[in-house]
């Protein structure tokens, strides 16, 4: 085994105060940082550290590049925003690993968790994910619309709160409007929906509306969206309201 390693690290949603000490320590030991341009830009350059920013949509190439660097003895951190295991670089790295040369499998590979966007957004709004919930990636090219629609309807039937990543994409701009239509049918017009944009950054905005008032334009590429379950409540108070889901469902009302 070479002395190189690959760490797939989550930088959290944006604020440096949400980067774990474990991730900071890995970055301090790294010789190379690989990742999507805006995430690599969050890493301070220093002597002995080579930054390798790359464009979006080249996850498999980036993963293979990181694994090759490690095989040559480099200490490589692949940076993701949020948590690398939630709709991010960790799965891409393992897809590349499984398809690649067997020598890669002997490498020291670790995934370091981070604060994922839905949990940062939930914390800012209250506790909408305090009872059973699901997380669905709406990014285009990952699955057919029929799979998304079925999952939405089943999640509503299960009465999960739902968190949506990548609600709007350039390649499928109409997709999120269709999602909202299905959600209104399945959950009703009064169900609260949270649009949380750029959480923990200076551009952070939060907006809670009933589904009947939601429109696709309320989300963009930096937004995570959370729809409550049938039990989710809004507490009005001075300043911003609180959105939360109680811990218990005492009766089976299906």
């Amino acid at each position: 085994m070479s002395a190189g390693w690959v760490v797939v690290a989550g930088l959290g949603p944006g604020s440096e105060s949400l980067v774990t000490p474990e991730v900071s320590a890995a970055l301090a030991e790294a010789t190379d940082v690989v990742g999507y341009i805006p995430y690599v830009a969050r890493v301070a350059s220093r002597p002995g550290l080579t930054l390798h920013p790359s464009d979006n949509r080249v996850e498999l190439d980036r993963a293979a590049y990181a694994l090759d660097l490690a095989l040559r003895g480099r200490r490589v951190v692949v940076v993701s925003s949020g948590d690398p295991g939630v709709f991010a670089m960790a799965s891409a790295l393992f897809e590349a690993l499984e398809a690649g040369p067997v020598a890669w499998r002997e490498l020291d590979i670790r995934v370091l968790p981070g604060i994922t966007a839905m949990l940062a957004a939930a914390a800012r709004a209250g506790a909408p994910l305090g009872h059973d919930f699901c997380a669905i990636n709406l990014s285009d090219n990952l699955k057919p619309w029929s799979v998304i629609e079925r999952r939405l309807r089943l999640a509503a039937e299960a009465d999960f709160a739902m968190a949506f990543y990548n609600p709007r994409s350039r390649a499928r701009p109409e997709g999120f409007a269709r999602v909202l239509t299905v959600l209104r049918e399945a959950c009703g017009e009064d169900r609260p929906i949270l649009f949380a944009r750029a959480v923990s950054t200076p551009e952070e905005t939060l907006r809670i509306v009933p589904l009947g008032q939601a429109s696709a334009e309320m989300a963009d590429m930096r937004t995570v969206v959370i729809v409550g379950s049938s039990q989710t409540r809004v507490i009005e108070r001075p300043g911003s309201p609180i959105l939360y889901t109680p811990r218990s469902v005492l009766k089976d009302t299906a």
Copy 2:
């Protein structure tokens, strides 16, 4: 408004290297720390800081106590393990807030996210939650068995990976065996299941088996359990295997 505040903070799964700087900063400013005994024990005592450890199953009393302290001008951190918004103290605090005196609603209340157990476990095992997934709390007293069973079957039909918190409880020891029976029916004997115990602590253990070989005794109160989707894969290699779910489902096979 008083100068007091309440922060509900996530300490992560156990290791100090997974506590965010934001949480550490809040603890450094606090006058009071409130929480379940083992979580308060993770906070170092210092002059000017009063620790208020309390027993399990008194979440609403604890929340009310914290809100009252803040109303009297204290700076209170309510500590949770993991993320406070995932099956933890944040929802309990807002339940107390909604039912309590209106003066509480004027308090400065913040939730600070943490690394939740399923994401720490997923990172250690690979990336089993790299595609759509759900999180279900199996703790007794929170919902009737019929609700749990329906959610399991719907989650399997949606082909979510599933993370289970509190798989075994003293009050319902047979419950997790029933969960495994439903999962075997819905997902088949070959589906991989991960038992991750005490992740990030010196007692950490990970075990990946096919559902057909899983038994309730493989989980205890410190275990988080993850069942893969139909797409989840195991990569064998020297040392421990990698469990991961690819990012894409290219065809609708329902």
